[in-house]
């Protein structure tokens, strides 16, 4: 996978223009492939989350309007493997679509990689963590 940094470093004016347009809004919906807690679904490429959790994919396409380009999603490798009752979550969270410069931005930068949300509240993790004795 080639990163956005690589494209930036190449100095292509066209890329920079596209970036500037994409970055006119800090966040967009070009989100990573999100896998729900119950199963693993096939990816269809950067920015698209599957909703049925069971269909197989063929690899996915690169994102085009986000901060990262790549060789597609990762769905084909495990496509269709779904745990009982599992369903993929349609992700609604934004990802960082501009070139990242801070840790928070790197951690949340748009990517075609598969991600797995952990629901702290749903799992009973206290919102205010107690100190370790």
């Amino acid at each position: 996978m080639k990163t956005m940094h690589k494209h930036l470093a190449s100095g292509l004016a066209g890329t920079l223009i596209l970036l500037a347009l994409a970055c006119s809004s800090k966040n967009n919906n070009n989100n990573p492939v999100i896998i729900g807690t119950g199963g693993e679904a096939a990816a269809t490429g950067g920015g698209t989350s599957t909703t049925d959790g069971g269909s197989s994919g063929t690899g996915g396409s690169s994102s085009t309007n986000g901060g990262s380009t790549g060789n597609g999603g990762s769905g084909s490798s495990t496509g269709g493997a779904t745990a009982a009752g599992g369903a993929c979550v349609q992700d609604t969270r934004p990802c960082h679509s501009c070139p990242a410069t801070t840790s928070d931005e790197f951690l949340n930068e748009c990517t075609p990689a598969t991600c797995y949300p952990f629901d702290n509240a749903g799992k009973g993790v206290p919102s205010s963590l107690p100190a370790i004795p």
């Binding site: 490798s77 990242a100 410069t101 801070t102 790197f106 963590l129």
Partner: protein, 415 residues
């Protein structure tokens, strides 16, 4: 050997225990016929156990170099390795050393010098010396090698997919001591396969978890303390065999995971401020370390190779300097080191796109002076990405028409 220690204990105790444990394991288990001193081009390396799979792969190539270099290794935990380098001359190892022949197919044993031991040439650590509470002697220099990522790993039969920093803080900080401190399904402290405070794996993970709450430290981790990565692996597979795969979870370096994908897999890790969890690789079956290289996976750091150096650029020991030169990327070895690194679960600096200077600290955008991203990905995954353009004759002219003008390692790279 498997230690059944319960934490918390004072900070220094686990480190001393780790050293004692390592000394015990270093004692000859059977009659030895080879003296380490007879091996050619000896370099004594001690410390991280997590580095062993990668070190083995390097060692079997170096032993065929001309002249040959033999790595004699004792895996004792990263902080033990750092501790050796806090004095000048460095500390000594005794008992039995491990070395490898050109096949690397088995650990070979040799007898270290009796009584006085042998001075450690390179202390290897997965974490900064400061994370162990030490400062290397001023005559030493900390050279950075390939990037290692540390994971929360589970048996392959577990259905768990991710863990957040907050959840891990509760699981490993309290060990399910009360219902209020329990996060399902990791509700049994005897199923938490951890290391000790002398372990770089545990230190790095603790550095991450300490960022989400108060008081978390490597010496306070709850669970079953294991003397090495291999024992953690054994513990996890044993739990799975007993049908306890859901509550089984342990600390493992990614190079250990990658060489045991049939037994364990890493959970996606959702760090503080992160909206979703990521594995080191882009998917469960990938080997691309994409999320380490671009900063989506948080728990990573360079291998630290601490060795005597007068100029901060070269190691005093000539053979140690060859190893340092190769692993820092300063010198090009005769063998394909990038492929070795890619297939052993670590990432060479030339394939990284983020950097950091402190333990699980702030990340910055990074572009190495001579990128090897395409070469790394081809070696790691078997196929170069479609946007990687090959330059088989290794000339920049082959890259003239594309966006990436520099031919590095057979592919056109940005620089």
């Amino acid at each position: 050997m498997r230690t059944k220690m319960r934490f918390p204990v004072i900070r220094a105790l686990p480190i001393l225990a780790g050293a004692a444990c390592a000394l015990f394991t270093a004692l000859p288990a059977s009659a030895q016929s080879v003296d380490c001193a007879t091996l050619p081009g000896r370099v004594y390396v001690a410390g991280s156990t997590a580095v062993k799979p990668f070190l083995l792969a390097i060692a079997k190539n170096l032993v065929t170099a001309n002249p040959p270099i033999t790595i004699i290794y004792q895996g004792q935990g990263s902080c033990v390795g750092v501790n050796y380098m806090t004095t000048s001359p460095a500390g000594t190892i005794s008992g039995t050393g491990t070395y490898w022949d050109s096949t690397g197919s088995a650990d070979l044993s040799c007898n270290l010098t009796a009584i006085t031991g042998d001075v450690v040439d390179i202390g290897v650590s997965d974490v900064f010396a400061s994370s162990c509470g030490y400062a290397a002697d001023p005559s030493m220099h900390d050279f950075y090698g390939p990037v290692q990522s540390m994971t929360f790993s589970v048996p392959v039969t577990s259905t768990q997919q991710s863990i957040s920093a907050e959840a891990a803080y509760m699981v490993f900080g309290f060990g399910a001591d009360t219902a209020a401190h329990t996060v399902a399904p990791w509700n049994d402290a005897t199923a938490l396969e951890v290391r000790s405070a002398s372990s770089g794996t545990q230190q790095m993970i603790s550095a991450a978890l300490a960022q989400v709450g108060s008081g978390f430290a490597a010496a306070k981790v709850k669970g079953v303390a294991n003397s090495g990565s291999g024992v953690v692996l054994t513990g996890l597979t044993g739990l799975a065999a007993a049908n306890n795969q859901e509550k089984a979870i342990g600390f493992l370096a990614m190079d250990v995971v990658d060489t045991n994908r049939d037994k364990v897999r890493p959970l996606a890790f959702q760090f503080k401020g992160q909206s979703c969890g990521y594995m080191p690789d882009s998917s469960t079956t990938a080997f691309d370390k994409a999320n380490v290289r671009d900063g989506h996976y948080a728990i990573w750091g360079p291998l630290h190779m601490i060795t005597p150096s007068t100029d901060g650029k070269t190691a005093t020991n000539a053979n140690a300097d060859k190893i340092i030169g190769y692993l820092t990327g300063r010198d090009a070895p005769a063998f394909d080191l990038i492929s070795v690194e890619a297939t052993k679960g670590v990432v060479p600096d030339c394939a990284m796109r983020v950097s950091r200077t402190t333990e699980v600290g702030a990340m910055a955008s990074y572009m190495p002076a001579k990128s090897c991203e395409c070469k790394f990905l081809k070696a790691a995954t078997g196929t170069a990405p479609t946007d990687c353009v090959a330059c088989p004759n290794n000339t920049d002219a082959e890259c003239a028409s594309g966006a990436n003008k520099h031919c590095n390692y057979g592919f056109c790279e940005v620089q």
